[in-house]
Amino acid sequence: MPEWFGYIGRILYVDLTHEKFEVRELDEKDVDMFVGGIVLATKIIAEEMDPRVDPFSPDNVLVFMTGPLTGTIVPCTGRYVVAAKSPLTLGWGEAHASGFWAVELKKAGFDGIVVKGRASNPVYLWIHDGEVEIRDASKLLGLTLPETELKIKEELGKDVRVAAIGPAGEKLVRYAAIANDITPDGPRVAGRTGMGAVMGSKNLKAIAVKGSGQIKIKDAKRVRSVLKRILPLVLSYPTTQIHAVYGTPGEIEEFYEYGDMPIKNFSLGEWDGIKNITAKRFKELGIVKEHRACWACPIHCWKYAEAGGAKGRAPEYETIAALGSLLMIDDPFYIEKANHLCNLYGMDTISAGVTIAWAIECFERGLITKEDTGGLELRWGDPDLALKLIEMIGKREGFGKLLGEGCMRASQVIGRGTERYCMHVKGLEMPMHDPRAFKGMGLQYATSNRGACHLQGLVFRIEQGQRVHDLRIYERPDRFDYKGKGRIVATMQLWHEVVESMVICKFIDIPPAHLAGLYSMVTGRRRNVQQLLQVGKRIFTLKRVFNVANGVRRKDDTLPERFLKEPLKEGGAKGQVVELEPMLKEYYEFMGWDEDGVPKKEVFQELGILELAKKLYPELG
C-alpha cells in the first residue's frame, strides 16, 4: 500500500438501501489519471452508475470528494465537490463549496464519500476517525439548515462539522443546495444543479464529520517556503483585493458598467437601482458587519451580515443580482432577507431568482395568469412578493411548487410560449453575467457540462484583459469579438477542471504553473501544466459523454434566444448579441468533437478513457 501525501488514501462507499459501508483504498492508477476532486468523482460516477437513471431514483450516485490540496497549508483549500446526475438538467450535475467540512472529512479518514441507494427512513451519517454510523434523522425532518446543524451538534458535540440539506432538499426542489459550516456565520453552499434534492431523494438529511487525523505533505518545508514567497504577488491582484475588502459584491459597479449585470430578466441595460445595492451601500447601512474566512484563507471574502433579525453569511454578487436587479428590487434589507431565506431552506439563489424573474415577465406579458399563480399578482420591483415566492418555493406550496421545478421545466408545464422568457442552458438557470457583455461567456455557458455555468472557465476575466501566460493565453481579446474565443474558452474550461480536482478556491489566483508545482510538492507526484491540462480534458470529455448518453447534442449547446437575437437598447453592452455559431465551430474543432457535438473516438483513445466512455455510452462502439 503506498504512503499517501495530500491524499488520505481511502474512499467511503455507503449503501443507504442496505445500510452497508465499504472502505476502498485509493487506486494509484486512478490518482495518476484523475488526480482528485471533481475529476475523481466523475470517474467514480462513470464506473458506478448508468447515466440514464432517474436522478431521484436510488440508482443515482451522489459523490462528495475532496482533493489532494484540501486541508493542506496551501491557501483556500477548504473545499469539496459534490456530483451526481442533476434533477434540474437531467444531465451532469456538480456543485462546490468551501468552509471547513471538507478538511474535517479528510481528518476523519476519507478523501470522499460515495452515496448509493435510498434509506427507508430519514437518516444522517456520522463519520468520526474512520468510524461510520447511520443515525436516525426523523427529528431533523423539516428543520431549516441552521436548526439542523444545531440539533446535530446537540447530539454529537459542538465541534463536529456538518453538511446538510434544508426543507427544500427534503421536498425535492430541483435546485436545492447542500450547505456546510452553517452556524453561526455561514452557510457555505454547494448550490447549483440540485445536489441537495438528490441528497433529499436518498432520505439523507446530513453528514456530520469529526476527525483527529493528519494530512501529510511530502515536502512541507518547501511548500511553506514557496508560499511565503509567491503569496505577496498573488494577493496583490486587484480582484483579490476587492474581494478582501467587499467580497464579490465589490465588483457590482464594474460589472454594471460593462452591461454585464442583468436587470429585469436580462432585458434592460441600465437601471438607477444599482446604486442602492452596491457593496458600499450594504456596509453603509450596517448590514454587512465583518469579514470571515474559510480554511487557510488569507483573503476573507466571506462577509458576515446581520439585519432584521437575520444573521449569517452576507449575500454574494450572484445573489444580489439574482434576487435584486434581475427582479428590479433595490432594497438591500430585502436582499439580505431573501438571501437568508434561501439559506434557511437550502436552495440556490441564482436558480430561485431566475425562475421568479421568468414568472414575473410571463405574468407581465399575459402568458401566466392569476389562475396559474393561485391569485398572486406578479410584478417587478416587489420585495414582499419575492419573499413570499421564495417561502412558497422552499415549502413547495401553491405556485411555489411549480417554481421549485426550475424555469425550464416550469415553462414546459405552462407552455403558451413562456419558454422564450426562461433564461437557462440545458435546464440550469443563467448566472448573473450577461453573455452579450462578454461573448466568450456565451460560449462557456453553451458548452459547460452542467449547463449555464459561470465558474467553469471564468472567461469574462480573460475578456476583461487578464492574460494566463501559463496556459498560453496571451491575447487580450475584445469582449465583443467572437473570433479566437473557441480555443480560449476550451482551455479555460479544461484548466478549471484541474482547479476543481485539487480542490482550491477560484478566488485565490495562483498561476497554473505554481499550482502544478504546489501539487507536486504536496503529493510527491510531479505534474506540469500540460499534463494537468490533459487530466482536465480527460474529465471534461467524460462529463460530455455522460450528457451525450442523456441525449445532449449540438442543438443543446445554445443560449436563450434573448442573447442571440435581442440586443440591449442601452448600457455597456448596448446593441450586442452573441454570435454563437462561429465560436462553437472553433470550439468543437479544438475539443475534437464531431459536428453534432459528440467527442470523436480518437479523442478518447488519446486520453486513455475509451473503455470508461463506452461504459457510459455504449453506442461509441
Binding site: 514557496v226 514567497r229 504577488l233 501559463d470 498560453r472 487580450r476 504553473a513 508545482g517 507536486s520 506540469n528
Partner: protein
Amino acid sequence: MAEEGFELVSEEELKEEICRVMKALYQRGLVSALGGNVSARVPGSKEFWITPSGVFKGAVEPDDLVKLDLEGNVVDGFLRPSIEWPMHAAIYKVRPDVNAVVHAHNPFTLGLALAGYTLKPISVEAVMVLRRVEVVPFAFPGTDELAKLIEKYAATGARALILQNHGIVAMGANLVEAEAVAETLEEVAIAQYVALSLGKEPPTIPERDVELYMKLYKIQ
C-alpha cells in the same frame, strides 16, 4: 549535458551562477523586487534553466529555478517559470552562440531610449562589450508577440536589445558575459546621460578605432 568531454560547469553550479547574477542585478538597481529574469542553456542540450515568476528576485535560490525545453515544457523544478520564457527560448533557438540571457529594466538605458537617444561608442567597453545594440518596438511582456520580435532582432547578431517601454535583453556566451552586457549598457547610458545633462554632446572614440574593433571581433 554533453555526452563526452570535460564538464566545466555542472548544472548545480550553473543554477547557483544564475542566482548570483539575478541577485546582483537586483542589488545594482537594474531590476525591482519582482522584475527581470535570467536564464542559462544547459551546455550541449535543448534545455535551459530560468528564474521563477512572481517571487522576490533579491533572494532567488537554486531550488526555485525551473528547467524548460525550448517549447516551454517544464523538465524540472517546481515553481512557475518566468513569464518571459518564450523570449529566452526564442533567443536560444536562433543564436547557437548564446548560452545565457539576462532581462533587466535598466532605468538609464531605457530612459535614453524613451527620449530618442541611441547609445554611442563613448568608451572602449561600449564597443567591445556591447558590440551591436538593437531597439525593439513595444510588445506586451510575456507574450508570444514579444518573443517573435525578439527572435527577429536577436537573429541580427545583436548582443543587447533595448525593449521600448520595457527594459533590456543582454546575451552572452556565458552568464558573466550576459551580465557584463547588461551592466555595460547601463554604464554607457549613465555616462552619456551625465554628459548630455551637463549640456555636452559626448564625444565618441575615433571612428577608425571603432572600425578596428569591429573587424577584430568580426562584427558585421
